[in-house]
Subunit: 343 residues, 2 copies
C-alpha cells in the first residue's frame, strides 16, 4: 500500500491535505445584478443574451467567461489545469461540453441539477487532495431563458408563473482548487443520497428538495460531530423561501436547530427583486453564492467557516409528463479560512 | 501534509493502492443477445420493454437489475456502498437519478454520453484508491427506444436509418470497486479532453469521436511510456466500423500502431446482427463490453492487461438543430489481473 490515509469520516469525505480554493469567479445576469448578492459578483452582464442569438449560446458565454475570469484571478493559464469538472441544466449538459471543447484540460461532465456546483467542487477537491491533480477547476452555469424553454415554456408564450415557482438564475461560477497554499480550504464534503418523497408539482421544487437537504445536513453533523453553530454561515442551494422553512422543520424534528447562521441562496439571490417567485434556482444559484458571498466574505475574514449545501431537483420534462415524482439530492462542502493566508 | 503520494503520471491518473473490481454485472437487451458478446453477459432480457409501459422505465429496470446483480456477485448489500456514480443518455440523466432514489448510497451523477461508463469507473476508482470510500459502484445504461425517440425519431415512425448510423445498445452494466484485494485492479486512467473537429452529421458519430479517442490514447501511451502491445486487448467504446478505422489512421500518423490487440466494442457488439448499421453505441455499449468480455476474460486468465477507451459524442438534439458540430470525448482506464487473485 502506497497510502494508508483514511479520508472517510462517517459517510463524509475528509480532505487531510486541505486543498485550497485559490480563486473564484462569478458572472451574473441582469436580474441577479438587482439582488443583494450583486456586490459580491465579479461581473454583472446587463444583456442576458450576451450578444448571442440563442439563450443556449448565451449560457455558454457565461460559462466561458467564468473560466477565463477564474483563471485570471488565479494567475493561471488554461494549460495549467489538470482537470476541469463542469455541468449545467441543459439536455446532455451541452453548455459544459461545448465550453470544454475550448479548454485544453481533461474534462469530466457531471449532472446533479442545481446541486452540480458542489458535486463538481467535491470531485475536484478529492482529486487535488489525493494527488491526482495539482490544479483543478469546477464550473457550472444556468440561464433563465434556456431553462424555461427546455423545462417549461418558451418565455415568448408569456405563461403566467405560479407564486410558488422559482426563477432560474442566469450566470456562471467557477472555482480553482490547488494543492498549494491558499486563503480558503475545503475540509469536508458530504455527498447526497437521492430522496424521493413523492412530490409531483414542478412548481414545488423547494419542498421536493428539502428532505434531501435535511438528510445531507443531518449526516454531515453526525459524521463530523459538529452542530450548526460550528459554522459562521450555512447556505443551502436553492430551496427558496418555502423549501428552506421546511428544511428547518425537518431538522428540528431530528434535534438539529439551524438557527441564525442558516440562509438559503435561492431566497437571498432575488430578495426584493419583483417577479422572481419564491427565489432563485439553477446551477448558478449556489455557484454564484459560493464563489461570491461566501468566498469573498472569507477572503475578507468576515467569516471563517461555512457550509454550502447545494440542492438539486432531479426531474426532466419527460418524467414530469409521465406523471412521476421529483427526486431530490443535496451535496455539502465545508469551507474554512486558512489561518494566516487570508488577505 | 497527511499524504504525499503522487497519483499523477504525465496527465494521467495512477492508482497506487490498486483498487479492485470485485464484481461486474451485465444486463443486455434482445438484440445484444444475438451478437458475439452475449456469452459474456450475466443476463439477456428477451423483452426490451422489461414489462414496463415506457422505454424510459424499461431502461431504469435494466439499471436497477445491473446494480442488484453486481451487488449479489460481490456478496454485498446496498447499505455497504460508500458511493454510487451513475449516468445515462436521457435528458437530465433521469435513469441514473431515479434509480439512485432506490439505493441508500451517496450518489454522484455524471454525463459523458457514451463515455460515461469509464468516467464513472475512473471517479469510483479514484475515491477508493484515495480512501474516500472503501466500496463504490459505477453503473451506466442506455436503451434503443428511449434514445431513438429522444435524439432522433420515435421508432413508431419507422424512419429509414442511414447506413452510417449506429444502433443504441439496450442494457446496463455495473462494476463494484473495493479497497480490498480482488481479481482485477484498476491501475491508471486517462481522462479525455473534449475535441470538436466540426463534424455536424449525427449519423457520423464515430468519425466525430475518433479524434478524441486518438488524443486520449496517444496521451495515455506517452504518460505511461507504454506501447499498444503492452495490452492484451485495447477496446474503444463505440466508434463503430468507420470511426475505428479513422482512429487507427489518426494514431498511425502519430507513430502509434494499434495492431491486432485493438477492437471496437460498437463494432463487436452487433457483429453479424442485421439492421444495426455500423455498430452499437450508447452508455451500455462500453459498459457491457467492459463488464462482460473484458472482465470475464480477465477472471478466466485469458488476458491479463486491458485498456478500455469509452467514447462519447457530446451533442444534444438542440445543438444539432441549431446547426452546431459534435464535440467528442474519450476516457481510458487500464485494467490488470491481480497476480494470484484471479479465479
Amino acid at each position: 500500500m502506497a497510502d494508508v490515509v483514511q479520508r472517510r469520516v462517517g459517510g463524509s469525505l475528509r480532505f487531510p491535505n486541505r486543498p485550497s480554493i485559490i480563486a473564484s469567479s462569478t458572472i451574473a445576469g441582469p436580474m441577479e445584478g438587482k439582488g443583494p448578492l450583486a456586490r459580491w459578483f465579479d461581473c454583472v452582464v446587463e444583456d442576458d443574451m450576451f450578444g448571442e442569438r440563442t439563450p443556449e449560446k448565451a449560457e455558454r458565454r457565461f460559462m466561458r467567461d467564468a473560466i477565463d475570469v477564474a483563471l485570471k484571478n488565479a494567475g493561471l493559464e488554461p494549460d495549467d489545469l489538470h482537470i476541469m469538472v463542469a455541468g449545467d441544466l441543459l439536455n446532455q449538459t451541452v453548455t459544459a461540453s461545448f465550453t470544454a471543447a475550448e479548454v485544453p484540460a481533461p474534462f469530466m461532465g457531471v449532472y446533479g441539477a442545481c446541486s452540480t456546483s458542489v458535486e463538481g467542487l467535491a470531485i475536484v477537491a478529492s482529486m487535488v487532495d489525493a494527488g491526482f491533480a495539482d490544479v483543478g477547476l469546477s464550473v457550472t452555469s444556468s440561464h433563465y431563458q434556456a431553462a424555461e424553454r427546455q423545462f417549461r415554456y418558451p418565455i415568448e408564450l408569456n405563461i403566467q408563473r405560479k407564486s410558488t415557482s422559482q426563477y432560474t438564475v442566469t450566470g456562471a461560477g467557477a472555482l480553482v482548487v490547488s494543492s498549494g497554499r491558499g486563503p480558503v480550504v475545503v475540509t469536508e464534503a458530504t455527498i447526497g443520497k437521492v430522496i424521493d418523497m413523492g412530490i409531483k408539482d414542478p412548481n414545488q421544487m423547494g419542498p421536493a428538495m428539502a428532505p434531501a437537504a435535511a438528510d445531507t445536513l443531518y449526516r454531515h453533523f453526525v459524521d463530523t460531530g459538529r452542530t450548526p453553530d460550528y459554522y459562521d454561515m450555512i447556505i443551502t442551494g436553492d430551496l427558496g423561501a418555502v423549501g428552506s422553512s421546511i428544511l428547518r422543520d425537518l431538522l428540528q424534528r431530528r434535534g438539529v436547530v439551524l438557527g441564525d447562521v442558516y440562509r438559503d441562496s435561492g431566497a437571498l439571490m432575488f430578495e426584493g427583486v419583483p417577479g422572481t417567485g419564491v427565489g432563485g434556482s439553477g446551477c448558478a444559484c449556489a455557484a454564484l453564492t459560493m464563489g461570491g458571498l461566501i468566498y469573498k466574505k472569507m477572503l475578507a475574514n468576515e467569516i471563517s467557516r461555512a457550509l454550502v449545501v447545494a440542492t438539486g431537483a432531479l426531474l426532466s420534462s419527460l418524467t414530469w409528463q409521465q406523471g412521476e415524482s421529483i427526486p431530490g439530492v443535496a451535496h455539502a462542502v465545508a469551507l474554512e479560512v486558512q489561518p494566516g493566508a487570508a488577505t
